[in-house]
Symmetry: D2
Subunit: 344 residues, 4 copies
């Protein structure tokens, strides 16, 4: 019973077929091939906007490269304390921005808000040469806690960012999961809400290795292509990354997969919450569940062969926070099996 | 008629099948999955040595990351003037090493030798704080000119490097092509000849996106894993990169593909050289041909629909140096067709 | 009435005389001249240890360069939230370390303690490749709040650092002020308490431009000289930096100056605290006073021509935190004048 | 007999007096004090232009920081093979530009010209994402060989730079020596000849530690102040750097000192050239002499106590190139003494 990450699930068959399709013909790549051109056109349709799209190998690369054109090296990026860029990328943002600082803002349910950003901004007054300077804002949709920002919340943050001369980045490693949860259009959740640049991830939702940086504010693009190349993220056979996105968008595959994993998580979360000894730590908006339980139960789960993530990292704590993730491949049976263990 | 690059050829069917095979099961990735374990064991067999292997997205990333553990930021990497790291990576080595210098050494047929390195070293005396310090040596096998170093030549370079306290890196973007040309073992061409770390490329020889950094000198590995992650090159679904290598090594696929593209190039080179008005600029050791011709002929080729690379980049020169590349997919018919054009 | 910083005071006559003395003779510099040799010998005496000393232009450079040999680029330096390195150096630590993170730890009176460091360390588990890695600890003595660590407090922090494989850095921009306040030896306050490397500042205490990086743990020195040069901090006429230190240590000048500024601050702090409407925000251990007052009083002071620093940076707050600094040049009369204003 | 460098000579008395004068009063520094304001006004007069001036600790810092606002991190700076930035700064330009490349151009007498730059530019076509991009041009006036560019030569280079969208930097570590040799105005030798930014050095010509970055093209300044601070080159007591420049410009001191050292070198060069066994390697335009002699003579000079620089660094060569430098302090007697040795 593997509930440790949505990346465990491998690739959906439709994406493998898309790879085979992308293999037709011979083309010089480097994002200049016909598959890439189709992919870019597809992104423009999906987002109802003339976006600029760049392909990279990982979500970490997408985030760090996106930030690198937002902030100067002496700039500050405002993000949640527990955000992926702040916690799980081994300093990739600092590397690609060549020394920017992440201002880690606290906030319930993995979310930041204008109040927290404003307070943090106070430490970095504009024009004071001793201080690092406001560089950008980054939010995750869905967040690292599986929660989502409403469109109004996104708008409020991007408005604040803009009023301080900053752009807004969205880490969309689980973009589809948030999108179907909000039941809005991709445009609504991004540029119409003031987002300037998006890390658009497909890997966690069934692709093989497909991550893109999508610019809505094309003034920001600047020298992105050189930075991408310099980071070793310009693919010679780019059509195989582009092809995955074509498969992903085909027949609404991406939304179908995300709806499924969200539904599995909703069921699992609701049932667990109804059991004695389990307490949800935050709303189950997408495909992640954060649940508190005793360390005795943790041991019981482990002995029963359930794989999951101890959020604190400290197995000696009496009360544990556990993360469970459902994927496009998670089945009703697997959820039921886990619930059996949970009852035990 | 596409002779512009070996990356145009797409993916061999065996590698696509290997991807499907890698899709079986559910695993946490990040190079900890069973497919990666198999891949690493396979590399150890192939190289007859207990190597350390890391997967990355591109050859540029492999090279730059390998150099980053060889040289300090104030170090100098000695390489050929026309090497990929010096010319075609938009400063990725400078980025990943955080400011090292590439000392560009001239040399016939794309190769450097101990004399050239020794002369260049003279500018960087050890222990003089005003000068950048010797950081490493990098050679390409095959070279950017399609030529190869003999085992003795590699040994002479790595011996010199060692005597100056430097490690030796090999850019093996076309490793298989060189290997079958030399008809030796992978071990002979690398660690037995003193190579410390190798960028092992499979993408140009039929893979989808499969590049690895292979350490023979495991003292060099140091903090490579952190640097890889920080560069956005640690894959969550690492099994799909690893799986490509399993397919690549299976039934000697890699050598068969390389032998084919080399044979196509040998035929094309020999036939062209026999035609009036064409002159080979360097030996055709592997799958690349460098041929000089008049700009009239260049125009004729272009009008006939042949795609190739003008090496000087300057279409106004009277006499042009043209690069032609054969791939695993190049056919006898295509070569004959091109020869027909060449005669015309 | 200038109480805004101790850097306003210019240079003590003894240091100007030392400069003239250093001007005798002709020497090749770059820290190889006889004045530098004398200076280094003097440091060894003062610290009762065979230290390695390097001269730089500013305290910011001293701090950032010291950190650059402690932490890898993907490392974390644990320091107080309000420390100079975290707040007032425009990202110099991030620049010189090439991307390290500062973990900003809260703590009363500008001080951190083992509990705070331990909690922060929890976010950066050793060996987890997704996480930045423990890189070093930095404390300021005296702190940015003018307070001091006891020898036991320093020892407890450096012991904790060591137990996690980290070195301890001390920002001694106001080292002399702390030293005379603790009334201990330089050795006691540094290496005997486990400090590995010190930014030793003389500029704020009467020198012209004299900052040094002092290594007690010479294993840490590694390639410091190259990093210093590369930062543009190796002086050709190094004897004029070295000469200032010779003057500074001569006849205990440094302690005399520090005692004076501390005494002025002690008097000012005590008298202010005794007046209605003023409240000290932290102990006055050295030459800085942090006092709370109404914004009406702030305006009154400003109209009376007192120059000082509004700590919050926000002049609209009802209750203000004000920093006052005494220097080697502050006189009893100036303090009395200010107290008259304060009473008004 | 110290002819090894002009930095050996210490400080002229007028500059020490200027330091004492700068010590009057109490001011907050960081380039906001009245001495700095006077200094900036003085620079504007001297250069007949509304320049932007920033103070730094060393010529290396001035050069590297100037380049950092000219070129992107993936840019190329075109400079002479033997330039200080390429040879003697331990990679400071690479550090401050965060990874730019120096294209080392050969040229007689330490000078580059449009032909050499144009040839080098060919390797870095604009807009090709695989290649580093044209970033800037840097020339030294006087050069590392003591020679000078004519105004026409400077103009030809800066015109070429501009036509490729690049700015032109001048390393003026020995600016005054070149200026009096050309007998033109500072404006003529810089912005009127198309120079955008200048490293203006006073240290080699009698100051204690006084280097400035002077922008004629103020569009280039951009975020220079943040980069300066981040490099640890913003002085709290900036008035003592500024004061040196006030003394330097006072009563034409700078030109007088430079004329003297040039005259000493002219005499020494001419007399040496007239002796058998000595051959000037390049014209003696300023205060440096490059002379070829047998290694026997080198030994003889060394035994006679003459200190100088072996340019090749290799004492085993039969024929040696020796550098001799005269300073503001070099006397006729010292020159005569050296000539006596040379005859012996």
């Amino acid at each position: 019973m593997l509930f440790i990450s949505d990346t465990t699930a491998g690739v959906v068959p439709e994406i493998l077929q898309a790879l085979e399709k992308a293999n037709d013909g011979m083309f010089l790549g480097y994002e200049g091939d016909p598959v890439c051109r189709d992919m870019k056109a597809r992104f423009a349709e999906v987002f109802e906007s003339d976006v600029s799209v760049f392909l990279v190998a990982t979500g970490t690369a997408a985030n760090a490269l996106a930030l690198s054109v937002m902030t100067p090296p002496y700039g500050v990026v405002f993000a949640h304390d527990g955000s992926h860029i702040n916690v799980d990328e081994c300093g990739a943002p600092e590397f690609y921005t060549q020394g920017a600082k992440l201002a880690a803002i606290k906030g319930a349910n993995g979310k930041i808000d204008p109040t927290g950003i404003t307070a943090a901004l106070n430490d970095f007054p504009k024009g004071v040469v001793h201080r690092m300077q406001p560089g950008g804002v980054s939010i995750s949709q869905a967040t690292e806690r599986g929660t989502i920002y409403s469109l109004e919340e996104i708008k409020a943050i991007s408005d604040l960012a803009k009023s301080h001369g900053m752009a807004t980045h969205m880490d969309g490693a689980r973009f589809a999961n948030a999108l179907v949860a909000l039941n809005c259009s991709p445009a609504d959740m991004t540029w119409r809400a003031g987002v300037d640049v998006l890390s658009f991830g497909a890997t966690k939702n069934g692709a093989l290795m497909a991550e893109a940086v999508v610019f809505f504010n094309t003034d920001l693009v600047k020298d992105f292509a050189y930075r991408q190349k310099r980071g070793g993220h310009l693919f010679s056979k780019s059509r195989f990354s582009a092809g995955q996105f074509l498969g992903y968008f085909q027949d609404d595959l991406w939304r179908r997969l995300a709806r499924h994993s969200n539904a599995m998580a909703a069921k699992l979360g609701a049932r667990l919450a109804a059991l004695p000894g389990y307490e949800l730590d935050c709303p189950v908006d997408t495909n992640q569940i954060f649940v508190k339980m005793s360390s005795d139960r943790v041991r019981h789960w482990q002995e029963a062969g359930v794989q999951f993530y101890l959020w604190s990292g400290d197995p000696t704590e009496a009360r544990q926070l556990v993360r469970l993730v459902c994927s496009w491949k998670t089945t009703d049976e697997q959820v039921d099996q886990l619930l059996e263990v949970a009852k035990g």
